[in-house]
Symmetry: C2
Amino acid sequence: MSDERPFRGSGGSLRAQIYEDIRDRIHRGAFGASDRLVDVEIAGNLGVSRMPVREALLQLTHEGYLVGTTRGFMLPTLTPTDVANIFEVRRCLEPRAAAHAARTLDAAGMERLAEALKDAEEAVETADAELLFQANVRFRRSWLEAVDNDRLASAIARFADHVQVVRLGTLTHQPTQAIVLAGMRKLYDAFTSRDSMAAFDHMTTFIQHAEERFVTLTRALETASDEGRRSQGQSQ
Amino acid sequence: MSDERPFRGSGGSLRAQIYEDIRDRIHRGAFGASDRLVDVEIAGNLGVSRMPVREALLQLTHEGYLVGTTRGFMLPTLTPTDVANIFEVRRCLEPRAAAHAARTLDAAGMERLAEALKDAEEAVETADAELLFQANVRFRRSWLEAVDNDRLASAIARFADHVQVVRLGTLTHQPTQAIVLAGMRKLYDAFTSRDSMAAFDHMTTFIQHAEERFVTLTRALETASDEGRRSQGQSQ
DNA sequence: ACGGCAACAACTGTATACTGATTTGCGGAG
DNA sequence: CTCCGCAAATCAGTATACAGTTGTTGCCGT
């Protein structure tokens, strides 16, 4: 509060620190769909001027994490088409990247994968959606770090993040949890046995399943809320 | 010079106009590898303040068109690894996008493709590398516009742009020109006959050839310049 | 009560000013 | 002649100030 220093981050520039801070908060679901992110407000909270905050928000907007309006920045509302588009790109990229990772993963990376998988197993046992969500993120991050094609890796990270925002919702359903865990296990086996082709194939089905679950659950959610909205006419 | 108006662009914000302006200039090869883009200087030329220019430069940097240094922004020097990485991503994305386009291209799009192809044929006849370059860009832009997956299309455009900067150099070689033209013809046939699978396959080979030509010619260029650099030790 | 209009407020966008870091270039010592 | 170090310029980063635009609120007329 009365912190003299403007920010506690450790990175290089304020812009970079603020960018990561806001992006992480978006990941954690700290913002609702109706929240407006206003640079001057965030700047006040952080004790800095508008400029670094504004630049961070602009970057997030260009990367698709936010949408800019004439009145603040907001979370994008992903239409089913948007989600389908994102998954199409992921289907193109991630299998090949996984094949890379199967060849280049080192012992440390394998260890992190194992930990993430263990957490995922525990999460499914205790039906802890939040933990499974985190484990899933760490699992992907772990093998993605081993991909030696930086551009491929960062593109994947970006597109995965976009749908990750809504992913948490699908992981609360028990059958989905089992499917995700099974997919992670198969991927893990492919990675540890350095089987590029298996990694490619299992990643393909993993993403297919992720999309299927999303579509199914979203459709269910939509029809449910449609009834409640029936009397209000057009949705916003 | 004594223009009252700060800028002649037509887009929304100054930032967006300047962004496009600089990006186009990068495409046209207006900047050399040793040129430094300095915000205050560009701002002076355009009659605006640093801020919109700075934001445009930052965006270009985040998108990989530039690299930021402590002393101005510069063009990235693509290593062979960089180029290989970019082409790997393109190999993943463009065939599928081409398959899309084969189904969604309308008459107007077909017309633009035909024009671009005609220019390319003329360019090869007259050995006009610049014209072939332009035709190639327009050809891709035309079918890319028909891809209904915006994220896929913009990702492709971005990665294609990155290597396009060095592409011009490869198109001066006659055999490469013939290969490119042949690839465009096959793609055009696939598009006009709405054959998604053929579009997919021909795009795959088209990109493979593009990468091959690049690697070959770059290697030739490198060994040539290596001899001249022999006495200087490490390259910069 | 409801619809339109006007004044207001809340933002983004742009401009200007300042600061700190880093490179560059010059000068002196070895 | 070379190498070290210091001074000065340059430029990114950040802060503050101003302008322009749009959504919002409240009032007035119907």
